[in-house]
């Protein structure tokens, strides 16, 4: 069985195609590992292999773990919230359906921060996920269950969503690869919405090749999401071995002391820059003058959109209802007041306030203008550079409970990831080494729809770094 665990998802697919591996055996291998998971990474695990295993199709039957907030027909889809406890949707999200049609059946649903609001997975109504590298520490969030499951080898690969870093940051803290695609690349249909102008689905995988393979079968225009687009060009398996001629920019604002980048993280980041140079890349500092304000803009825009999106949870059409014996407004207030967790309520309050009469221009309006400036900063930087690189997270996995009392400190987790989200551009995090035994993530970002270039560069770096994630797979 350890043999199967050593295979990446793409390698497992190759073996199935070659007739050397039965997809049902692979499914059962991971199903039993997921069922025995001790990290609280899952909110639901399949009880049996699907009748049609999926071999003969591009993903060959290699099963996928899916973040709880993706609607999956007949399967609990709760966004890790009490307000949606045991909600079983009547339809399946487009990306999950795309993957199933490409031959990746549903293995499990993964734990997350409630409605994807959080950076530590401590905001789940179903308990925190533990980091497989050190169980006293958080896996990051909000796609913490997906990251932990892949790192621990209880899923071959997984998908998550990224609004301000929710794929990249947990990928970094768990030592796996996480990619946030260009906004619009993947359909948002059936993703329980957090912030509609920012939310994007993406892969969390063991390596860059797996990320490319999974992403290739997620993207595409969907008639159910008018913001989705046909992905220009294809997404092929990355092959680059060198970075000759690639100009990497290092934004001073995101790599200096302002974001509180830990010394151990900075050390691994610098070592990775040297490797990139050895592979032929040129490295120069660059400026994103408005990036330090991205966090403030993000934490006004995202909660504002969330306050509108989460209005639908009102005890009428699905989910929890409390106070049904009272009048209608009391029922709304009791259902929402007790059904949402503390961070979700905080963000609904923040967003409602930012949109309320008399404050709209000062908060939401200003944040949207900052968003314009951030997009312009990136556009200017990409005139000189092919890709920009930063640490994914200013620090490595922190101890459970160590930041829960200070919302602002928790929000700083996203310092290096929110600028790309606001600009809608793609970014990937790859593990680049360890700091005191904990994984460090290296983030590469490129212009809109430059996923192929990003994946190629990440692939070349990944080979040079040769990160060993096997110690987390016990």
């Amino acid at each position: 069985m350890t043999d199967l665990l050593d295979l990446t998802a793409a390698q497992a697919a190759d073996r199935i195609r070659a007739g050397d591996l039965d997809p049902r055996e692979l499914f059962e291998h991971y199903r039993s590992r997921a069922a025995a998971d001790e990290l609280n990474a899952f909110t639901w695990v399949a009880d049996q292999a699907p009748s049609a295993p999926g071999d003969g199709r591009p993903l060959a039957g290699v099963p996928v773990a899916v973040k709880d907030l993706f609607c999956t027909q007949g399967v609990p889809s709760q966004a890790a919230s009490k307000i949606l406890e045991d909600y079983r949707p009547p339809y399946t999200a487009t990306v999950v359906r795309n993957l199933a049609e490409a031959g990746a059946p549903l293995l499990a649903k993964t734990n997350q921060d409630e409605f994807a609001m959080g950076s530590s997975n401590e905001n789940s109504a179903y308990g925190p996920v533990l980091n497989p590298w050190d169980r006293r520490r958080v896996p990051g969030g909000s796609s913490g269950g997906s990251a932990a499951a892949v790192a621990a080898g209880s899923a071959p690969w997984a998908i998550g969503t990224d609004t301000g870093g929710s794929i990249r940051q947990p990928a970094a803290l768990c030592g796996v690869v996480g990619l946030k695609p260009t906004y619009g690349a993947c359909s948002r249909y059936g993703m329980i919405a957090f912030a509609s102008s920012l939310d994007q689905a993406g892969p969390l995988t063991r390596d860059v090749t797996d990320a490319a393979l999974l992403l290739a079968h997620m993207v595409g225009r969907d008639r159910h999401d008018s913001t989705s687009v046909e992905f220009p060009g294809g997404i092929e398996a990355p092959r680059a071995e060198r970075l000759d001629g690639i100009r990497l920019g290092v934004p001073e604002e995101l790599t200096g002391s302002e974001g509180g980048v830990e010394p151990g993280v900075r050390e691994q980041f610098d070592a990775t820059l040297r490797r990139a140079e050895e592979l032929g890349a040129t490295i120069e500092p660059c400026r994103l003058p408005h990036a330090p304000h991205a966090l403030s803009a993000y934490y006004l825009i995202a909660p504002a959109e969330a306050s509108a999106n989460l209005a639908r949870f009102d005890g009428v059409r699905y989910g929890l209802r409390l106070g049904g014996e009272a009048d209608l407004v009391s029922m709304y207030e009791q259902t929402r007041g007790r059904g949402f967790g503390p961070e979700v309520k905080r963000r609904i309050m923040l967003g409602t306030y930012a949109l309320s009469s008399g404050y709209y221009d000062a908060y939401y309006g200003t944040a949207q203008k900052v968003r314009t400036k951030i997009s312009e900063d990136f556009a200017a930087a990409f005139e000189q550079f092919d890709l920009l690189v930063t640490p994914t997270s200013p620090w490595t996995a922190f101890e459970l409970g160590s930041k829960t009392d200070d919302p602002l400190a928790m929000y700083l987790n996203d310092f290096c990831t929110v600028p790309m989200s606001l600009a809608g551009i793609p970014a990937i995090s790859i593990p680049c080494g360890l700091s005191q035994g904990l994984p460090v993530g290296f983030q590469l970002a490129g212009p809109a729809f430059s996923e192929a270039r990003l994946l190629d560069a990440a692939f070349a770096l990944e080979r040079a770094i040769a990160f060993d994630g096997s110690t987390a797979r016990v």
């Binding site: 007041g337 309520k345 309320s356 949207q368 919302p407 929000y411």
Partner: protein
């Protein structure tokens, strides 16, 4: 700075019932967070257009052709109180002032 009355006003707008300790906590936390965010007000953003959507998308309308929707009984299966083919809700009660 948000005081108790403002927190209650916003909670009412958001249809959220908050307990007394939650009101206190919310006032303190939101004040701290907003104070931090107010730094963006120092930027010179005169004449800068707002961005609400980052990817250029045009002609998103699909042909207006009728198609089957989910059967009512399937949709109502998730409802807390299905009632005569619709969603049952408590009485709206007295109109708000």
């Amino acid at each position: 700075m948000l005081d108790r009355a403002q927190v209650l006003h916003v909670a009412r707008l958001a249809r959220l019932e908050l307990t007394d300790p939650e009101i206190e906590q919310m006032a303190a936390e939101l004040s701290k967070v907003l104070e931090h965010f107010e730094k963006i007000g120092e930027l010179d953003l005169e004449g800068v257009p707002p961005t609400s959507h980052v990817v250029e998308v045009t002609d998103t309308l699909r042909p207006d052709e009728p198609e089957a929707s989910l059967p009512a009984e399937v949709v109502l299966a998730s409802a807390p109180e299905p009632l005569e083919g619709g969603f049952g809700v408590p009485s709206p009660g007295q109109p708000e002032e």
